[in-house]
């Protein structure tokens, strides 16, 4: 678990072990040394990450851009939070993102288990395969699914050719299920690799010990594997669940009207309607939500670590 609120401290301290009496290692010769390494990266983040976030917040509160005058108000937020249309879109988004996350965990936990303990010489090829999949372009992968599922797509074509159906099935594409499939396959690498990493750290002998003590297969999975793999589950949720909420290429390309998600709403507000304040407000709400999910995941991870 190195990705934490302070992603680089926790592990550094665990690995270095008890602090040396002399303190710093390696010896620091000048107070300026950290600054030589950190000034440019930190300036980059302040200018290109923090300041834009601040401007996003100010614009959502009515700051004028270009020639427009500033009209400070929280109208953009009240509209968002009270409009039933946005509530509907928000519910769709939560349903789709949660389903995709659950699907990925249901597939990912057994897959990671197989990779870590059962795959033998196929372990590295499987890992390499997952990495390669992630290096492929995500928009191209969405397109591949659309090609399969469309009205004139390959699945319909194949079923018709086999005489199973007379009319192409329209229900394959442009609905929530298509979005869930596309999102689940698109993010699976980031779900499986943390799970795999957590399981890889488990001492295999624990399974044998549990079995020798009379635990059945299910008990071993539930009482030994899952608690020890839990940190990996939280990392997976952190890395995948948050971006699922804001995805907008997948729902735009395969979601149709019933799969309309918040990410698309941000895009439409800003680029179609030119309503910068509302678009910024919705982005900021998404930012706050992702912060909450992250905080929750960290909290759960910490509680879990104390228990196991």
């Amino acid at each position: 678990m190195s990705i934490a609120a302070d992603p680089f401290t926790s592990e550094a301290e665990i690995v270095t072990g008890p602090p040396e009496p002399t303190g710093r290692r390696p010896r620091v010769r000048g107070r300026w040394l950290p600054a030589t390494y950190l000034t440019v990266p930190m300036l980059t983040l302040v200018v290109l990450f923090l300041v834009p976030m601040l401007i996003l917040l100010l614009i959502s509160l009515g700051m004028g851009v270009g020639r427009a005058h500033s009209l400070w108000s929280v109208d953009a937020y009240t509209t968002l939070l009270t409009d039933p249309l946005y509530r509907h879109v928000a519910i769709t988004t939560v349903v789709i993102a949660t389903s995709a996350m659950v699907v990925q965990l249901l597939v990912g936990v057994p897959l990671a288990y197989i990779m870590a303990f059962k795959a033998g010489r196929f372990e590295v090829p499987l890992l390499l395969g997952l990495v390669v999949l992630d290096e492929l372009n995500p928009v191209v992968r969405v397109y591949a699914w659309r090609m399969l599922l469309g009205r004139n797509g390959i699945i319909n074509g194949a079923l018709e050719a086999l005489g199973i159906i007379d009319q192409p099935i329209d229900a394959l594409l442009f609905n929530q299920y298509a979005v869930i499939v596309v999102l689940s396959t698109g993010w699976i690498t980031y779900t499986v690799i943390p799970l795999y990493a957590a399981m890889k750290a488990i001492d295999r002998n624990l399974f044998q010990a549990a079995a020798d003590l009379g635990a059945g297969w299910w008990t071993i999975m539930r009482r030994v594997l899952l608690p020890l793999a839990a940190p990996g589950i939280f990392v997976a949720v952190l890395l995948v669940y948050i971006p699922l909420f804001t995805d907008f290429a997948a729902p735009t390309l395969v979601g149709g009207t019933s799969g309309y998600m918040l990410g698309q709403a941000v895009n439409d507000l800003i680029l179609e309607q030119g309503d910068l304040a509302s678009g910024a407000a919705l982005s900021f709400v998404l930012l706050v939500c992702s912060g909450l999910v992250a905080a929750l995941a960290f909290r759960l991870a910490r509680i879990n670590r104390l228990e196991t």
Partner: protein, 280 residues
Amino acid sequence: MTSRSRIGDVLALTLLSVVMIVLVGPIILLAVFSFNDSSIIALPFQGFTWDWYQRALADPDVRDALRNSVVLAAVVAPLCVVLGTASAWGITRFRFRGRGAWSGLLGAPLIVPWLVIGVSGLMFFAYLRVQLSLLTVGAMHIAVTFPLVTALVASRLVRFERSQEEAAVDLGASQLQLMTRVVLPQLAPALAASLIFAFAWSFNNFEISFFNGGYQQTFPVWVYAVLRRSDNLPIVNAISTLVSALQVAAVYLLWLLIRWIGKKRGSADNLTNLVAGGLR
């Protein structure tokens, strides 16, 4: 016990096969239909052709988009490796005031969704009245990509035996010598991986390129625009197949390189550690 473990093996094999088909199948079909001699992508297969590849490579929009993406990633990736490695070193090897806050700031772009970062960039540049172009995309790519390199490199740094570093300092090595003679050679596999991954992250980035590119399209933005305008275009199949093949080759070569370095040094720096190490 044996019959039970056999059932387990069968289940494992079934799961693996289904997952492979679902994950890889669409990409394979994408490639197969790039050779189909028909303007609509549907069965039955009409015969083999290279035509779509020729048309794709002759298309000015495709060429522009590919050139933009390659130039962008080629500039962004090395800068990200430098910034990411420097910040990883600074944050893992020194104790100083505000270290927690700075490492929090380094971690934040990994958690904030790219859509929000893309939109914030759009607003930022609109506020400053900066014309959107490849430059603005590149700036935002650097800001979101180098913290990923930091995470990757930092996860290696915290695992290093520090005795060599200490010995180098005790023997009077300067910071520059410490870096070039001791630290960077040991980091080589992680740096190679970071370079390839940073290139891919920039090349594949859709949200940030989409919001900050203005009229200059990168490859993913071009694919998205074509898909929104019209239905299945075999040209997209052709060029996507080509790009995907190169991406697969890049990762494979990286793996060979890491294995080669590992063998030469007899170190345990393998792919598993590199990819999974940062998340453990």
